[in-house]
C-alpha cells in the first residue's frame, strides 16, 4: 500500500511548483508521536513535512477566515467534517471557491489518547466525495472505527443524560460548566462558528461582562453558542477536544440537532442544500410555540 504521506507530499509539491497555489495548508508532525499540527507549506522543501495520520484533529477550514490567507491561492487538505464545514463557508460567501484547491481525504477517524475519539464513532460522512474536490487522495489509512453507529445510536450519550431528572440534569451541567475558564477555545476551534465579530467579542456588551468565573455567564455563553451553531454543526467534536477542562460541549450541539429534527427533519450540513434550517423563515415552518413536541 502506497504510503499516504508520499502521495500527499507529491501532490503538494506538484501544486506548488506549477504555481497553481501560493501555499498548501495541511498537517505536520510535532515532537511527540501523538502530536500533529496544522502546517503551511510554501516551498517544495517545506512540503516534505506534510503528513496525515490518526492525530490530525484540527479543523483546517477555520483558518481560511484569517486575514493572512485573504487573496491567496491555497490548497487545503480536508477530512470529511472539515470539508462539510468548508462547504458552508463557501455557500455563505465567506471564502471564494476559485481561490481554493480542495484535496479530499478519507478520514479513518482520529484518536483521543489511545482509543478512537468518541465523536468519530457516529460519523458517517468521513469520506470526501471525489467529484466535489479538485484532488482526492487515493490512499486510505486503516479505519479506526469498525462499525459505525446508526443514526439513532449516535445520540446514545444524549439518551443517558435524558434518563436523569430535570434537577439532576441541571446539576450535571452546572458541575461541568463550573470548570469553564472562558478561554473561548471551543468557539475558536469550531469550523462553523464563523461570525466576523463574535457576539462575545463586542466592546462593552451589556449582556455579558468581563468576569471569567461566573457560572451563570458560562451557561449563557455555552447555551447561546450551541443555539447559534445548532443547525450548522458538522459533528467534528473539536469543541470538546480543545476544551482543557473536559466539558462535553458536543452534547449540547447533539441535543439541539435532535430537537431540530423534530421540526425540520434531518438536515446534514455540508450535504443538504443551503440555507440551513434556522437561517431562514418560511411560511410553512412548523409552529409549535408553547406546545411540547413528541
Amino acid at each position: 500500500m502506497r504510503d499516504i504521506n508520499k502521495e500527499i507530499i507529491e501532490i503538494a509539491q506538484e501544486l506548488l511548483e506549477s504555481n497553481k497555489v501560493d501555499m498548501v495548508l495541511g498537517y505536520t508532525k510535532g515532537e511527540r508521536p501523538d502530536q500533529t499540527f496544522p502546517f503551511i507549506a510554501k516551498t517544495k522543501e517545506e512540503a516534505e513535512r506534510l503528513t496525515f495520520d490518526y492525530y490530525s484533529y484540527n479543523s483546517l477550514s477555520k483558518y481560511l477566515l484569517d486575514d493572512m490567507y485573504q487573496g491567496k491561492k491555497i490548497a487545503i487538505f480536508l477530512k470529511g467534517c472539515d470539508f462539510r464545514g468548508l462547504k458552508l463557508m463557501i455557500g455563505e460567501d465567506r471564502v471564494k471557491r476559485e481561490d481554493l484547491h480542495l484535496i479530499g481525504l478519507d478520514c479513518p477517524g482520529v484518536k483521543r489518547g489511545e482509543s478512537v475519539s468518541p465523536y468519530c464513532l457516529s460519523c458517517r460522512l468521513n469520506n470526501v466525495p471525489k467529484e466535489e474536490v479538485d484532488t482526492k487522495i487515493s490512499t486510505s489509512l486503516e479505519p479506526l472505527v469498525e462499525r459505525k453507529y446508526s443514526h439513532e445510536e449516535s445520540f446514545s450519550e444524549i439518551n443517558d443524560i435524558e434518563k436523569m431528572s430535570n434537577e439532576e440534569r441541571f446539576e450535571y451541567w452546572k458541575r461541568q460548566l463550573s470548570r469553564c475558564k472562558r478561554c473561548y477555545s471551543c468557539r475558536n476551534g469550531c469550523p462553523v462558528c464563523t461570525c466576523r465579530v463574535c457576539l462575545f467579542d463586542r466592546e462593552n456588551p451589556g449582556y455579558i461582562d468581563g468576569a471569567t468565573d461566573q457560572l451563570a455567564q458560562h451557561q449563557f455563553y455555552h447555551v447561546i453558542r450551541a443555539f447559534h451553531v445548532a443547525d450548522r454543526c458538522v459533528g467534528c467534536g473539536e469543541c470538546s477536544r480543545v476544551c482543557p477542562e473536559n466539558i462535553p460541549l458536543h452534547l449540547l450541539s447533539q441535543k439541539l440537532i435532535r430537537e431540530l429534527e423534530k421540526f425540520y427533519g434531518t438536515y446534514t450540513t455540508g450535504v443538504d442544500e443551503l440555507p440551513t434550517p434556522l437561517s431562514t423563515a418560511k411560511a410553512n415552518d412548523p409552529d409549535h410555540f408553547g406546545k411540547e413536541v413528541k
Binding site: G30, M68, R175, S185, N188, G189, G210
Partner: protein, 356 residues
C-alpha cells in the same frame, strides 16, 4: 528553620485538616468528572482521596494552576450605591480568613515569586499583597520531571522551591516507600500552621523527612541563562517563525489562563439600577480585542503580532524589566494548547533546549 511532622496516611492528614477547618479556608485537589479541580476541604469526601493522592504523587502539576487563590479570576474591589444625586463608593472588604492551598507543585509556587515582582512593586497592589500574606502554600514535591516539564531549564528546584510555606512529601516518593505523609515547614507561616496541625491526635509528631528517591539533585539540563535567551530573541523580532506559529494559533486564552506566571487583567464596572461594583478580571493578550482602542486603532492587530508579543514578554521583555525568564516550566501550555504551541516549541525553534 525546618520542622517536620508526620502523618500515617493521607487520610489522617485530611482528618487533622478538618479539625482546623473553622479557622481556615482549605483547598485541596481532586477529580470531578475525570478532570482535576481544586475544591474546598468540606466538599472532599473519603472516596475522593484516592484521586487526591494520585494528583499529589504524580510528577506533573495539576491541570489548573493555583494562581486564582492569590489573584482571583474576578475580584470586586469597589462597591458603589447611588444616594440622591451622587454615588457613595467604598472599597470592598477583602476576605479575612486565612487560606490554605494544598497541592500546588514547586513550579506553581515559584511563579508567585515572579508575580510578586510585578504586583508588589510600587505602587503595591494591596489586594494581592493581603492574599499573599494570608495564604499558606503547601507544596507537593516532585522526584523527577514530568512529560512536559521544563523546571530544570527555568531554574525551579522541584524538591525544594524557594517560594513555599510547607513542603509535602509522600512516603511513596521517598526511599522508605510507605504510606506516610511528611509536612516540612520552610517558612515562619508554615511553622505556625504546622504547630496547629501537630495538636491533632492524627499527627505522629515530629520527624525527619526521609530522602527522596532517585538522583533528584542531579539535573539533567543546564538552567537557561535569561541574558542569553534575551539576546537570542532580540535578533528574532522580524523572523518568520512567529508567522508559522500564528498560522495555527486559535487565538483562544488557554495558554494565558493556564500559565501560572501570566497576570494580565481587565477592569470593568457593573451596575444595576442604583447599585454597582467595579471589578478586575483576567484577560488574555491573545484575544483580538485586548489592545483595541476606542476609535478602532489596534496596535497588535494580527495574531502574529500578539503571539510575538506574548513570547517576547516571557523570554525578553520580562528579563529586561525584572531579571528572570517569565516561565517556570510547568508544561501546561504544552499539554493544553489545541494547536501544539508552547514555550517548549518556541525554545526548540529558536535553537535552545533539546528534549522539549
Amino acid at each position: 528553620m525546618t520542622q517536620t511532622i508526620k502523618f500515617d496516611s493521607l487520610s489522617s492528614l485530611f482528618n487533622a485538616l478538618k479539625e482546623v477547618e473553622k479557622d481556615y479556608q482549605i483547598f485541596c485537589p481532586t477529580k470531578q468528572d475525570g478532570t482535576e479541580v481544586f475544591l474546598p476541604l468540606v466538599e472532599i469526601k473519603e472516596d475522593n482521596l484516592k484521586a487526591t493522592y494520585e494528583i499529589l504523587s504524580k510528577n506533573e502539576p495539576p491541570l489548573f494552576s493555583i494562581k486564582s487563590f492569590l489573584f482571583p479570576n474576578s475580584e470586586i474591589y469597589l462597591k458603589f450605591k447611588r444616594e440622591k444625586d451622587s454615588y457613595e463608593f467604598s472599597v470592598h472588604s477583602q476576605e479575612e480568613t486565612p487560606t490554605v492551598v494544598l497541592g500546588g507543585k514547586p513550579c506553581d509556587v515559584e511563579s508567585f515569586g515572579m508575580i510578586d515582582m510585578v504586583f508588589l512593586q510600587e505602587p503595591v497592589d494591596t489586594f494581592y499583597q493581603q492574599k499573599r500574606e494570608n495564604t499558606i502554600l503547601i507544596t507537593s514535591v516532585c522526584n523527577q520531571k514530568g512529560p512536559n516539564c521544563l523546571c530544570d531549564e527555568f531554574g525551579v528546584d522541584k524538591c525544594k522551591p524557594k517560594v513555599s510555606d510547607i513542603l509535602l512529601v509522600l512516603g511513596e516518593q521517598t526511599t522508605q516507600k510507605d504510606e506516610a505523609v511528611y509536612l516540612e515547614a520552610v517558612s515562619e507561616r508554615g511553622e505556625n500552621f504546622l504547630e496547629k496541625l501537630d495538636k491533632s491526635t492524627e499527627s505522629e509528631g515530629e520527624s525527619n523527612t526521609p530522602n527522596l528517591e532517585g538522583e533528584i539533585h542531579q539535573k539533567d539540563v543546564e538552567k537557561l541563562s535569561p541574558e542569553k535567551i534575551k539576546d537570542i530573541m532580540e535578533n528574532l523580532y522580524d523572523s518568520p517563525i512567529w508567522a508559522e506559529f500564528a498560522m495555527r494559533c486559535l487565538g483562544c486564552g488557554i495558554c494565558t489562563y493556564y500559565c501560572p506566571t501570566c497576570h494580565c487583567y481587565d477592569i470593568n464596572d457593573f451596575h444595576r439600577k442604583d447599585k454597582g461594583v467595579r471589578y478586575r478580571s483576567w484577560d488574555s493578550c491573545m484575544f483580538s480585542n485586548f489592545s483595541n482602542m476606542a476609535g478602532g486603532h489596534n496596535p497588535r492587530p494580527s495574531k502574529e503580532d500578539r503571539i510575538k508579543n506574548r513570547f517576547f514578554h516571557k523570554l525578553n521583555y520580562f528579563v529586561k524589566q525584572q531579571g528572570p525568564l517569565a516561565c517556570v516550566g510547568c508544561g501546561r501550555c504544552a499539554k493544553n494548547c489545541p494547536a501544539g504551541i508552547s514555550i517548549g516549541t518556541v525554545l526548540k525553534k529558536i535553537g535552545v533546549g533539546k528534549h522539549v
